[in-house]
Structure formats: C-alpha cells, structure tokens
Symmetry: C2
Subunit: 502 residues, 2 copies
C-alpha cells in the first residue's frame, strides 16, 4: 500500500532557470489520489536520484494523464531521458525551511542549520520563494560574523574543493561596483609571468553590465572543466576561468540568481560568496580590492572598513591570508563598459597601446604589486615596480596570450551592429559622472547578454569638452535594445554633468 | 522605430497560481532582437491592459516562433483569448522594487512607498521572488505602527470598499492558531438573529487545516458576488462569505500565498490583513479573539498584549472600534479539525445537539456576547446571557438556515471514504495535546483541500482513557493521503501524551 505512483517523462523543454518545476495534468489520477494541487512541492524520484519540484498543473492536452513534464533545470538535476519513469510523493517537511523561518524572525543560525539550508539550495529542494526569503532575511546586516563564517564554509563545502599542493596559491578579487574595472586579466598575466600560481575563477555579472568571466569570454573560452583548469595552470601558472563551470561554490549561483532578481547585495552573503569561492579554489593568499565612492557598490569608508574587517576576520577563521586594498571609486575605470569594450581596454593595457586607459593600467599595477608581495622573495613596497616591468617588457602580454591559447584559443573581439553617439549639449567642464546610471544604460543596451553591447566613455571626470563633442557611444546588438537604452537616456537627467566655465 | 513586436496567444493551460508567466520560443526573433532570456520580466500588453510576466523560454515545438503562451493567472489578468495579439516590451524599472529593497535593508517605508508595493502586487507586476522578499523583510516585527497603518490602508484601498449606510456594522475575527475553533458561523447566526448587521467575509486557510470559508463552504456556497452579499445581508442581517470572491483586500491573497509557502505569519502583515478586510467590508465595530497558548499562533501573553495594542491602535487610526478578547488556547476547540468535521460541530452547537462540544459553544457565546454589547441597547456584561437565549430558543439555528438558503441553499455534510482510528496504547490520563502537530496531521490527511478530510478528536485534556480506546480518527478522501498521514503519525512522538495513574 506504500507503492508510490509513477508517471512517464515527456520533455517539454521549458527553461525556468534554477527552479525545478514539474508539469502534470490537474485531472490525472495522481493529482487526485495524492491531493497534489498547483504550487505543491513534490518529491520526484528517478532511481536513486530525487529532487523536490514545484507543481504547475496543466489543463490542456499538452500532457497525457500518465505523463509528466519537467523544467530543463529539473531535467538536468535528475539526468532525465524521454520516456523514463519517475515516482512521485509528498516530500517530508524540510528542516531547512524551519531554519529559514528562524532567520526571518531574526534568530541567529547555528552551523548545522546553515549547512542544511545550503545543501537543500544546491540540491534544488528550495523553491524561489524559499530562496528569496532567505536572501532577504540575511540582507541588511542581519548575519553576524559566526553566521558568515558558517555560510562561507557551507557554500565552499557544497561543491568541488581544489587543492594545488603548494603553500602559496594567490588570488585577487574586486568587490565590484565600478563599471569597466577589469583588472583581473591584467593582474593574472603579470603575476603568472612572474611565476606565482594564480588559478583565477571569476563570476559572471550579478547586477553589473559585465563580470570578469563575461569579459574574459570575449578573448578566450572560460567554461573550463576542473581538468582543463589544472592543465592550464600547470602549463602557464595562471588561468582566468568561469567559476560556475567547475561547480566551485555552486550555492553561490543559486543565491546570486535571486539576488539579481531583487537587485540586492547583502554584506554577509557578499563575504561568503567571495571567500567560499577562494576556499573552494584552493587559494591561500588573496588581495581584495574594495573601491569606495558615492556610486560604487561600497558607498562610504565606514562600510568599506566594515567589509575589510569581515573579510579579514572570516578569512582568518578559514585559514586564508586576506589583504584588503581600499581604493577610490568616483568614476568608471577604463573606457568600455560591457564585455567586448572592456576586453578591448584590457588588451590595450597589456600591449602598451598608446590609447590604453591610464587609470585601468594604474589600478591593475597596484593590485598586481600587492599580489606579488605575497611572495617571500619580494620586499614590501617593491611589488608595483616589478609588476610594471613585466607589463612594459611584454612578458605579461606574452603570458596572457599563452593563457588564452591554453584555455582553448584566443578570440577576436566582436563589434556591435547598432551605435549611438551621445553629444555634449554645451561647452563646459565635466563635474560628475553617474556611474550607477551609466551601468544601467549599458545593461539596457544589452550587456552582458550580448558581448559587444555596452557604453564606451570618451571622457573622464574634470575633462573640458566642447558642444557637440561625443561624451559616450552606446553599443547594441539589436535595434530593440538600442531603442530601449535611448528611451531610458531621454527620460534620465544628465548622466554626465557639464558645468559652463566662467 | 518604436513599434513594439507582437506575438499570437496560444493557451497552454499551465496553472502557476498567482504568478504571471509568459512562454516563448528561446529562438524566436523577439527573444533575439529584444534580448529576452529566461526569467526576464516582460511587459505584455493587450489593448489597454498590461501585465508584467516572468519569461520561461521553450526549446521545443510546443510553440511556434510567432506564438506566446501565458500561465492561467496571466491569461485571466489580461482577459486573453486564443489567437489574440499581445505586444511585448521591456518593463520600466518598478519603483516598488526599490522600496522592497529599502525594506530589506531595514529602512522605514513611507506611505506612498507601501502603496506602490501593494498596487504592483495586486496588478501582478511582482514576481514570487519579489513578493517573498517583501514578506520576509516585513516579518519578525520589522514593521512599525505607522507602516502597519499604511499597509492596512493600501491593502484595503487596492480592492472593493463596501459601505452599508449604517452607523453600527459589527464583525468578529479570530487570530487563529487553534484548530477547530469555528465560532464564526455560530456568532453570525446569533448576532443576526438579534438584529445587528454582520456582513462577515472570511478567509480560506493560510497554514491551518481549515479556514472559516472552507468550513462554511461545506454548509452553503460562500463564493458570493458583492451584489449577492448585499442581498443576503439585506434579507437576513448577516452572511458568511469568502472574502476573496469579492475582491476585498485582494493584496492579502497575493501575500498569503507566499506566507503559506514559507509558513510564516508576520505580526504587521497579520494586523494589516485583518484590519484591511474589516475596513474594506465596511465594518465599524469588531471583536477580535486572540487565543493564547503554547501551541496556538500566539504563544504567550506578552505577544498577545502586543497584538492587542497594535490592533486597537491601528484600528483607532482607521476609525474602527476594536475590542480584543484574549482567551486561553491549550487544546483544539470542538472535536473536528478539517472543514466537514468542523461544520458538523457547528451544526451540533446551533441545534443544541446532545453531543455538541461544550467548549465550542462556550467560546462562541463569549464572542457573540461581546459583539452584541456593541449595541447601545445592551448593557455591558449582559451580552452573553442574551446570546445564550438566542441559541437555546432555536432562533440562531433558524437564522443560520435562513442565511444558508439566502447564500444559495444549505448543503449536506460530506463523509470521508478512508478512516483510521488511533487507539490509546495504555490506560492513563491525557496530560498534553500537541495542537500544532495534530493540525499538521489533519493537513497531511488532505484538509482543507478535501472537505471531508481531517482529524476527529474523541478526547479532551485531563480525560482518563483506557487502553485500546480511540483517541482520534483520521479522515481522508484518498488512500494516498491517508498513507501519508499515517507515515507521519508513525514517525512522530506522541501527539497526545498519556500518563499512567498511580
């Protein structure tokens, strides 16, 4: 009498991203006998594997009575094949849900409670509603330092854990917020050229017009397997791969998808996200760059110092040496905002091109210098000079090309098809650049989904421009998106403030 | 060049409950030209109407390139018909999302910010992720009194607002948590028999085995239109209708669906939910019953007193007279837990049946007495005696039958098909009844989805029972659910604690 009812899988091919959904006829015997109604959570088992999926009932002949469909995410989690049989049952109440509730009510979570939440998130047992409530309950400074530490470790432990058999494995990370701040490929090239091990895994954009992985993908493949990463790093000391492809801290992707939909970054989840990836990647020494400015992610020094403390503290608990560099962030770094435009800036710096953006070069050297100083062979304060040498003498560029080749071959930077120049309406001095809104403009233009899309800035803060001079160019891959960006532009107040001079 | 692209609607019949979803081919020209990817939020316009829907892309020939499907909820919101054309575009950034973010970060929301969130929630502009984050950010006491007041009014204003042209329109509400506490139909019958106006709208279950509307529906139709409610009340002074059917505070349904998935009740949203329905229903004087007990929704007196204060305070700001009755809640009231079983208890009390549960009768009289005392004709302290008279002399029962007839005709109470008696394992005294777990058991058995499902308690606290005597009976409408309830029962510690006597 405990035989579980079964259905035959039919592939509907519906992509819901990271939400497991099962589709069944609302008048199927199984819905009636088990009392399943729309939005019910159902345990779907195939052999030894199972997931918990949200039911969407179907009232049309899309499915037969003995058939079930799955969202593509659920299909992958179950490694399903057309025509296979799944058995369905009511899931047991998830303990993780009580812990999420506990957090909503403001309680401090214990280690095993956080572990349970992260395990269920990665296993696809939580619905979007559950994950969103967890993200919201943790944001706004509601995780204490211990909870952040537990979260960091739960996230790292939920995926692959790399180890390199070396005492010094370096890394760098930027807390983001400054469009175009694409120092990573430059830093990896310099540090690997020097000879330190830097197996860099980067993320795709959360709420920005491009993540490092999006930008690097313009120049070389980044979706490398663990084995491929090992081979690249053994050969070239460094790599610039997408972290998501190797299942380092996969919980991060689940949380990030919800954070993106909410456009929320929580301090605790930010620290856990950064450090869990570093732990999983097997890093031992990490430089973390926190740009601070009115339109950066970190808006004031006190928040920067709080983050610095959290990163160092949780890092120390985790056995990581963390060096935090607080930098100024008043305007975009480099010229391009969007994957291809940023990739162009990176290549210009690495090739010592005459148009190379000086600010991006300088910022990359500062970070590379700090990373190099993790080496016992380099005296404190000497790192930047060594980094500059490696850049100037072409060794960094040679190393970068070698890394691209090792990752699968260097690529040409794509060009956009639709462009619009935004011209200065008067002659004057640039007194403000609204970084946040310019990033939004780049996103509306199609970045990072379309590589060539974004905004190319032609001017810097304090520059003097003449009426009719182009201030920036919007690049799109489709007229729809260009129109969308333009309509936002027309409704916005000045993204770049010009003041007439006396 | 600003022509928006269009697609032809095809009905897929997928029920996602209150989430608007649009289905489109991932390789359709519109996805490519507009840059729409799965989980994107899309503005879907049909004539003057529009909604914002979440995109699920489809990789199979389920849809042609020029077709789009909608979830049933989106289909209804748009009043769509097969073959109609919709135009698609990127939605403008929703202001309400910044306000939800602001709440996540712990800020106090302004009146217009709360209005914007509720308006977008009712219009279907928020995704489940957004609504869930809002619910989580408001729970745990994170709404102050002003915010609760604004939320109450925003919720009331988002739906129909009834008015009865009378100075005294009474109502009662129970904050819940005690299974089987089904006093409402009895109170309405008594109060209407006395002659006061009591247009009662009730909700369906949130997290309990039955809401009043679920129970009342066993005895008569409750999905009444506004016009039908008016006619019933004009004729009989009172009614017991489902609030959701008349769009009183429709935001409540949107929030409740998410609260149910999270199994969360927030204090502020609870107050706003209760009072917004009362304001929308045109009530002027309301008795609110708060049972307090270790397994009730309100667990201790201090939380009860806090709620009492909030309800009175926000009620006063809203022009409502609120009388709060704090009662003890240590065990279920009545015998039945589940719609049909509770309806049977109600009828037994109203008909002065010899088996009528005394506790339910007493509780209903206490509340009816308090409501009656809103009448200037009744002295304080005399209400209960008058209520008891009306019950004993059959006038309340006659009125109840008349109300059922006016609502569409009285119904027979359905019987369950699958039952299981749970027997005492030893002789002894009942020292504890785990109300919360018994409610869960009733839900696992199928309540409130299946009317006849639930748990029928045969014993009360402190009773002395003999080994083998049935303590309760589980009722189900399907063997699947009965099995599910039984497997929970076998894994649980004692739901009813028996202590052997010396």
């Amino acid at each position: 009498m405990n035989e579980k009812p079964t259905l035959i899988l039919k592939r509907l091919g519906i992509d819901t991203q990271n939400e497991a959904v099962i589709y069944m006829r609302n008048d199927s015997h199984i819905c009636l006998s088990e009392g399943f109604v729309s939005q019910a959570r159902i345990r779907v088992q195939k052999g030894e594997r199972y997931i918990i999926a949200t039911l969407n009932t179907v009232t049309t002949p899309l499915l037969h009575h003995n058939e079930a469909g799955l969202s593509e995410y659920a299909w992958q989690l179950l490694e399903a094949k057309e025509g296979e049989e799944v058995s369905l049952s009511h899931p047991k109440p998830l303990h993780s849900l009580s812990y999420i509730r506990s957090k909503i009510y403001g309680n401090v979570l214990k280690e095993q409670e956080i572990n349970a939440i992260i395990e269920d998130a990665v296993a696809g047992h939580l619905s979007d509603i559950h994950t969103s409530a967890f993200v919201a309950a943790c944001a706004g400074g509601r995780l204490n330092e211990e909870e952040i530490f537990y979260l960091t470790h739960a996230m790292a432990a939920a995926g692959e854990l790399l180890s390199w058999g070396k005492e010094l494995v370096v890394d760098k990370h930027c807390v983001g917020g400054l469009p175009g701040n694409r120092t990573t490929p430059i830093v990896v090239a310099i540090v690997a050229a020097y000879g330190l091990i830097m197996p860099k895994t980067s993320s795709r954009s959360i709420t920005s017009p491009a993540g490092t992985a999006d930008t690097m993908e313009v120049l070389a493949p980044v979706e490398l397997s663990l084995d491929q990463i090992r081979k690249v790093v053994e050969k070239e000391n460094g790599c610039i791969a997408w972290g998501g492809a190797v299942s380092l801290s996969p919980a991060d992707d689940v949380l990030i998808r919800v954070e993106r939909a909410l456009n929320v970054d929580s301090e605790g989840q930010l620290v856990a996200s950064v450090l869990s990836k570093k732990i999983a990647a097997g890093s031992t020494h990490v430089v973390i760059d926190i740009p601070i400015g009115p339109t950066a992610k970190v808006r004031d020094a006190s928040m920067g110092i709080r983050l610095q403390h959290l990163l160092r503290h949780v890092g120390k608990l985790s056995g990581l040496t963390i060096k935090v560099v607080l930098t100024e962030g008043f305007e975009p770094v480099g010229r391009g905002i969007g994957p291809a435009l940023e990739a162009r800036d990176v290549v210009q710096v690495l090739t010592n091109h005459q148009d190379a953006p000086a600010d991006l070069r300088e910022h990359a050297l500062l970070l590379a210098g700090n990373v190099l100083e993790f080496s016992p062979a380099i005296e404190r304060g000497k790192g930047i000079a060594i980094a500059e040498d490696l850049l100037r003498n072409g060794k960094a560029w040679a190393k970068f090309q070698a890394i691209c080749e090792a990752q699968g071959g260097m690529r040409e930077i794509p060009q956009s098809c639709c462009r619009h120049d935004y011209l200065a309406e008067k002659t004057g001095k640039i007194t403000q650049i609204d970084t946040r809104r310019i990033a939004l403009l780049a996103k509306l233009a199609g970045a990072p989904q379309f590589k060539a899309a974004g905004v190319d800035l032609h001017v810097k803060l304090h520059a003097i421009v003449e009426k009719g001079q182009p201030l920036f160019t919007i690049h799109s891959q489709s007229s729809g998106e260009l129109n969308y960006a333009l309509s936002f532009l027309h409704e916005s107040n000045e993204l770049i403030r010009l003041e007439e001079m006396e």
